[in-house]
């Protein structure tokens, strides 16, 4: 019985969480260009309860909008660690997947997932607002089914992530 209730609470919580996703307004690369149309009248992401928020403490989603160089990565990790569980990461654009056009740059990190756990990637350079919104919808589904567990993975494999971070950041 107790276990049941806990399950129920969790599902209710997940239901609530997916209806209210707050995104930290932290723009790393050129992909941030696509966010204004997503937020404003044309596509209005507030329809889904999505809203841009300012500080890491308040936010649920960390949107990595574009390439990350080594310097930015340190900030991104700090921000990610400051966010409160449950928290989700979306890799935005090709750069976060494989480095994109900066695939051979020494200063740009190629794969986001090695440093912080990404729940979702949005492919494209740039992805259109429609794609962004679609990604958010997809994330909601993941949350609802409990599959968006990046923050748990991060805790579980903390040594792995830290090791990778240390390699890059020194």
């Amino acid at each position: 019985m107790e276990k049941m209730t806990e399950e129920q609470v969790k599902s209710i919580a997940n239901m609530l969480r997916k209806r209210s996703l707050w995104m930290i307004h932290y723009c790393t690369g050129c992909g941030a260009m696509e966010l204004p149309p997503t937020m404003t009248s044309r596509y209005d992401m507030e329809r889904f309860g999505l809203a841009p928020y300012v500080t890491s403490r308040q936010a649920d989603i960390l949107l990595i909008t574009g390439y990350l160089n080594v310097k930015t990565l340190r900030r991104v990790i700090t921000v990610y660690e400051q966010m409160l569980d449950p928290k989700y990461v979306i890799g935005f654009g090709s750069c976060t997947l494989n480095g994109g056009v900066y695939w051979d740059s020494y200063a740009v990190i190629k794969q986001l997932d090695r440093y912080i756990p990404a729940d979702l990637y949005i492919a494209g350079c740039m992805p259109r607002p429609e794609a962004v919104i679609s990604a958010f919808r997809h994330l909601m589904e993941l949350i609802d089914s409990g599959k968006a567990d990046g923050y748990k993975r991060y805790k579980r494999n903390l040594a792995y992530y830290k090791e990778n971070q240390r390699k890059v950041l020194g």
Binding site: T55, R75, V76, T78
Partner: protein, 628 residues
């Protein structure tokens, strides 16, 4: 019973001398004597709770009797004096360290100041009053300059202004003596009742200047910020909590013991049904409330901030006393008690912080709440009381003053009083924020809370802020009874507040506090049900992704209200002190100039002075003894 009055007056002085002598034996003898005698005085004072004794003659001078008396109003101030002194003596033992400064005569001076203030309060005639007033001035001067190098200049300013104020009183007292040949309060009152309006006004104004200097009402306040901030930590609360109240006490005695509202109303025109003299006093008080608040907001020094705040709060006391209605005067007197309690608390708490950190510069401090939680809590109570937020004591007395002003429709004064109170939010928050909140500097990581000897007085006062906040009736018992003696209509009150009809609204602090507590508990329970929070270090902080390190000063405390400062820039520029300095400098230049012209060092000049005198005399002789 009545002989005890003289004994009580003598107790602190004897205690001071004994403490001085005992200190030669061992310092703990000194402490023991100081504590014992200040406690004895407190006990003796408590004996007179609500007692009225008239005319204990203890001497006579120039044909005027020297009289001691007490009544509930005196008792109120007596209580403030003795209780605060007792606590301050205890605090001093913890705070003033022998090896840092020599303390031969510190406790002697402390007890002397206490004795002098007891004398002022118990005085039944103006000579006694004035005598102890002067003693208070110079003994407290010696206390102030215990604070080190800077305090010397501050003390100098203090004593000079005190002397000026005292001499102003002196003229008035001499005028009264010449007119009545007796300076016993009753005779003075009788004299003033049959005097011309000019005489009364001059007397009150001259006495008032003396009181205003001590009470630091606005144009005469310039000694206070320096003296209070530079004085040693245990002395500041004595100055701010007790000493400046003597000015308020004196004002009360003059306005209602010698004069009365009816009498004042008879001899001078009235504004808003207030005699114009009282009305002017009210305006001065209101101005000091507002301007001192503005200045307090802009301070960077914890004690200086509190010092300006004292000017502002004493403005409320004077404003209340000068309203002339039962409610207002009771509010003013009550605020005197409250201000003594919470300002004493604040100065002691800040003193505790200074004791541990060695600085009072607000921008150097921060985050001490984790290190000094008890001091923080006490200081929190103090600032809540100071800001006049229910349910602590500062609120009730301020409320009474507001209501009294509202009843008299003195709206502009009321607005200024309100503004001062809102401004108080700003500076008290600045105080607590910069000391206890924000980032903890690395150098204070090993700070501990202060020892029990210093905690004790702080917490006694902290408890008193709550007691007098929730049970204002306790103080009203004394005040209302005392005011009846001065011919005021008694106001209706209950233990917890004021029923409908006393003022334009009702007040029952117990309800406010009860609901607050219940609401707090409810919210807290809800808070606890939800998932637990984890404690993070102060460096794990939002900085737009930047990593905060101990080396980085990640704190906002310098120029906390800089933007507000821009708004009131024109007011801050006024600078009463600058005007004074200008005139003092001018006088100095002038004095130096003439001295170089007169005492030239040239014998011929000196000889010619003799000839000039002789010539003048010769002219006078030739004119038959008349020069004009």
């Amino acid at each position: 019973m009545n002989i005890l009055l003289e004994i009580m007056l003598a107790t602190p002085f004897i205690g001071g001398l004994l403490a001085f002598i005992g200190g030669k034996v061992h310092r703990w003898v000194r402490y023991a004597v100081a504590v014992t005698f200040s406690f004895l005085t407190l006990i003796e004072a408590l004996v007179y709770y609500n007692a009225t004794i008239k005319g204990v003659v203890w001497g006579s001078l120039f044909g005027s009797k020297l009289v001691l008396q007490t009544n509930p109003i005196s008792w109120l101030f007596l209580f403030i004096v003795t209780a605060m002194s007792f606590l301050i003596v205890i605090f001093s033992i913890g705070d003033m360290e022998e090896d840092k400064i020599k303390l031969d005569s510190y406790y002697m001076q402390l007890l002397f100041v206490e004795g002098a203030m007891v004398g002022i309060v118990l005085a039944g005639d103006l000579i006694t009053f004035f005598m102890f007033w002067e003693i208070m001035s110079w003994t407290s001067y010696f206390l102030i300059i215990y604070g080190g190098k800077k305090s010397v200049a501050a003390g100098y300013k203090y004593i000079i202004m005190s002397i000026i104020g005292a001499y102003s009183m002196f003229i008035a007292i001499a005028m009264l003596y010449v007119k009545a040949h007796s300076l016993v309060y009753a005779d003075v009152a009788a004299t003033l009742a049959h005097s011309s309006a000019t005489f009364v006004v001059w007397t009150v104004v001259l006495l008032g200047i003396g009181f205003f200097v001590k009470a630091a009402v606005m144009p005469l306040h310039t000694w206070l910020p320096d003296a209070h901030s530079e004085a040693p930590s245990p002395v500041s609360p004595l100055l701010s909590g007790v000493l400046i109240k003597m000015g308020a006490y004196g004002l009360f005695i003059v306005l209602y013991g010698f004069l009365s509202v009816q009498l004042a109303g008879n001899i001078m025109p009235s504004v808003f049904s207030t005699p114009i003299l009282l009305y002017i006093i009210q305006w001065l008080a209101a101005l000091s409330i507002v301007l001192a608040t503005f200045l307090a907001i802009m301070q960077e020094d914890a004690k200086r901030l509190l010092a300006y705040s004292s000017i502002s709060q004493i403005g409320y006391v004077v404003l209340g006393i000068a309203t002339g209605t039962s409610l207002g005067v009771a509010g003013g007197l009550f605020h005197a008690l409250n201000h003594a309690i919470f300002k004493g608390l604040l100065f002691l708490a800040v003193g505790a912080v200074i004791y541990r950190t060695g600085t009072r510069n607000l921008s150097d401090l921060g985050g001490l709440v984790k290190k000094m939680p008890y001091t923080f809590t006490a200081l929190l109570l103090g600032i809540i009381a100071l800001a006049g937020v229910p349910p602590l004591n500062g609120f009730v007395s301020k409320w009474m003053i507001y209501e009294a002003l509202l009843q008299k429709k003195e709206v502009f004064l009321l607005i200024m009083a309100f503004i001062g109170s809102t401004g108080a939010f700003l500076y008290v928050y600045r105080l607590i924020h910069s000391i206890f909140l924000g980032q903890l500097p690395k150098k204070y990581e090993n700070v501990k809370d202060v020892p029990i000897l210093m905690q004790f007085p702080i917490w006694v006062l902290a408890v008193l802020t709550i007691v007098f906040g929730i049970f204002p009736g306790l103080a009203m018992n004394v005040i209302v009874k005392g005011m009846k003696l001065f011919g005021f209509k008694p106001i209706a009150y209950t233990l917890f507040g004021f029923p409908q009809g006393t003022a334009m609204g009702a007040l029952k602090v117990i309800n406010i506090s009860a609901v607050l507590v219940v609401a707090f508990v409810a919210a807290w329970v809800l808070f606890l049900i939800l998932s637990k929070s984890r404690k993070v270090s102060q460096y794990d902080n939002y900085a737009a992704g930047q990593v905060v390190t101990p080396e980085l000063k990640y704190n906002y405390s310098f120029g906390f209200y800089m933007s507000f400062g821009r708004v009131i820039k024109s007011i801050l520029k006024l600078g009463i002190e600058r005007i004074y300095n200008y005139w003092v400098d001018a006088a100095k230049v002038f004095g130096d100039y003439y001295m170089r012209r007169v005492y030239t060092g040239n014998l011929e000049t000196y000889n010619s002075y003799i000839v000039i005198v002789v010539t003048i005399a010769a002219v006078a002789i030739l004119l038959g003894g008349k020069l004009w």
